[in-house]
Amino acid sequence: MSQALGIPDSGLLFQTDSALVINPNEPLNKLLLDKRFRQSFMAFADSCLAGESVHFYNEVHEHDKIPANDPVRRIYMARHIIEKYIVAGAAMEVNISYRTRQEILTTTNLAHPDLFNNALNELMQLMKTNLAKDYWSSMFFIKFKEESNTRFNGHEQETMAGWNFSPRLSSVHGADDPFHQEHVLKGFGCDNHDLNTQ
């Protein structure tokens, strides 16, 4: 929809070419401003069926880029977001409270710039407390770091030693998951080498 409305490419929220140090102690909303991090985080969330929150975040930021003096585009974008994420039963319905949903659905001003603020806040809380922790110990983050490092040579690699590896999901789709072979589950006392048998 953002392309259809001519919103300039979403990398950028914020792009940097300098060596980007992804520090898990940084607030998530700051980290999500980086396109590559956002994509990695989104892929992780999709893999454990929690992607809609991140997709919503993405599209709301697209929406926020539309200038205030262009209410028509705002309204189109707002309607699109509402149909896709807010309406009960929507394809990518997000996990927000009743009141926050009602505020949006009963608004008299679809062009309002703060229309999605409360929803975004709730979902950021959800992502922070629910998804972020698992992301740092996932293969997606490991891959992201490797890719960042090959792009910026000489950048010192942060040690992963401190982080326990505890996958959120070893397989939802069974054999589709290319990573389940490498998963090591914390001390559950039986052989690890054949996790995908059914």
């Binding site: 607030p27 909303n29 969330a45 454990c48 069926l49 929690a50 992607g51 809609e52 929150s53 009960a88 319905e93 997000v94 996990n95 927000i96 409270s97 009743y98 009141r99 949903r101 806040n121 950021m124 809380q125 959800l126 922070k128 407390t129 629910n130 998804l131 922790k133 698992d134 401190g162 326990n164 959120r168 999901l169 070893s170 939802v172 789709h173 589950l185 914390k186 001390g187 559950f188 006392g189 039986c190 052989d191 080498h193 054949d194 996790l195 048998t197 059914q198």
Partner: protein, 392 residues
């Protein structure tokens, strides 16, 4: 003469042969059983899929945490500390809900005066309400903890809490509010209980794999347990997990008969659970799946049921109290249990006649009780396994 002897010998031999055959057959059967038991106990070949299902806030993730504590290596200090932001967020969000709720009740209720926060606390209230709405909460300092405690003890806030069922007040409220001093200590490390009480809505799917180590360590059962979000938007994701499920652990919070949904304040939580349970029972993939119904949050139920009558819930409208105190609590519990039993049988067809259905009274926060309950679940599933393998 010889022919008679040979004939008799022949029949004798054949009788013996029949006994030998019978022995041999028994031996063969025993060997076969041995072999199959061995096969069944090979962990790699038999991962059993368990699903935790239920409406939002029913206790699924708490059970999940308990299983992690019981059967994996538990929570180390790093993991305990990782819950500090969550616990602090719970505190800030809760006091905000109570403060904002008191203002709302002060506007809408007939006896509105009792919900008006005292003058000296009004500023604290406003400040805490604002902080509660931030994305990033400030660290919980002793000063802030003191202010939160002051507001919590305000009469209007206590009145608001007393009718918390009208608002979305989390169950962990009194626990965290009574421990504010400890939670705000600069060197605070959450206890296991703090982690169990911490409230985080689950989104998407999480799983763990574990092997319950029993007295018979050779048992080799391996379980893969899936936890999911319970709100309506999360349920569309459940379908991805429905294949090949050994057992569904369905959590129903029996204390919620007077509350409404987080995602729909016009819907009673108990009715939602009833409808959800019916829906799950009727899923074709679960035709042979065992159902373990956890009637959860009994600790809250037993306190509530003597104050708020069960029949505020449409499903329980025919409830008649018969006594008082502990007896009445038991009576109320049995009534609810019976309702769920009736619901189960109404939702099953002759196809389901072999399906295992067990009900357990649980308090997911109680580690001993969850351990005991899970042991029973495990026994039931093992027996079921053997039955299905034709060994029982």
């Amino acid at each position: 003469m010889l022919s008679i002897i040979t004939q008799n010998m022949g029949s004798l031999c054949s009788k013996q042969r029949r006994y030998n055959e019978a022995d041999a057959e028994e031996n063969a059967q025993a060997a076969e059983i041995e072999r199959r038991i061995e096969q069944e106990t090979k962990a790699e070949k038999h991962i059993q899929k368990l699903l935790l299902l239920g409406a939002g806030d029913s206790g699924k993730s708490t059970i999940f945490k308990q299983i992690k504590l019981l059967f994996q290596s538990g929570f180390d200090e790093a993991e305990l500390k990782s819950y500090i932001p969550v616990i602090h967020a719970n505190v800030y969000q809760t006091i905000k809900i109570l403060h904002d709720g008191s203002k709302e009740l002060a506007q809408n209720e007939t006896d509105s005066l009792k919900y008006v926060i005292s003058n000296e606390n009004k500023d604290i209230g406003k400040k805490l309400s604002e902080i509660g709405g931030f994305l990033d909460h400030p660290p919980l300092t002793k000063e802030l903890a003191q202010e939160i405690e002051t507001l919590w003890r305000d009469a209007a806030v206590q009145e608001t809490y007393a009718c918390g069922n009208k608002l979305q007040v989390p169950d962990c409220t009194p626990y965290f509010m009574d421990n504010l001093q400890r939670l705000s200590d600069p060197n605070y490390i959450p206890t296991k209980d703090d982690v169990l009480y911490a409230r985080v809505r689950t989104t998407g799917v999480v799983e763990i794999q574990f092997s319950p180590v029993g007295e018979n360590k050779k048992s080799g059962e391996v379980y893969r347990l899936f936890d999911v979000g319970g709100q309506r938007n999360e349920r569309r994701k459940w379908i991805h997990l429905f294949e090949g499920v050994t057992a569904v652990i369905f959590c129903a919070a029996i204390s919620e008969y007077d509350q409404t949904l987080f995602e729909d304040e016009n819907k009673n939580r108990m009715i939602e659970t009833k409808e959800l349970f019916e829906w799950v029972l009727k899923q074709p993939c679960f035709e042979k799946t065992s159902f373990m119904l956890f009637l959860n949050k009994f600790d809250i139920f037993e306190k509530k049921v003597l104050k708020a009558p069960l029949n505020v819930c449409e499903w329980f409208k025919d409830y008649q109290p018969v006594s008082a105190g502990k007896q009445e609590i038991e009576h109320a519990y049995e009534f609810v249990k019976k309702k769920f039993e009736e619901l189960y049988f109404q939702s099953t067809t002759p196809d389901h006649v072999d399906r295992v259905f067990k009900i357990y009274r649980t308090t997911a926060l109680d580690q001993k009780l969850v351990k005991k309950t899970f042991k029973l679940v495990d026994e039931t599933l093992r027996r079921r396994n053997l039955f299905e393998a034709g060994l029982l």
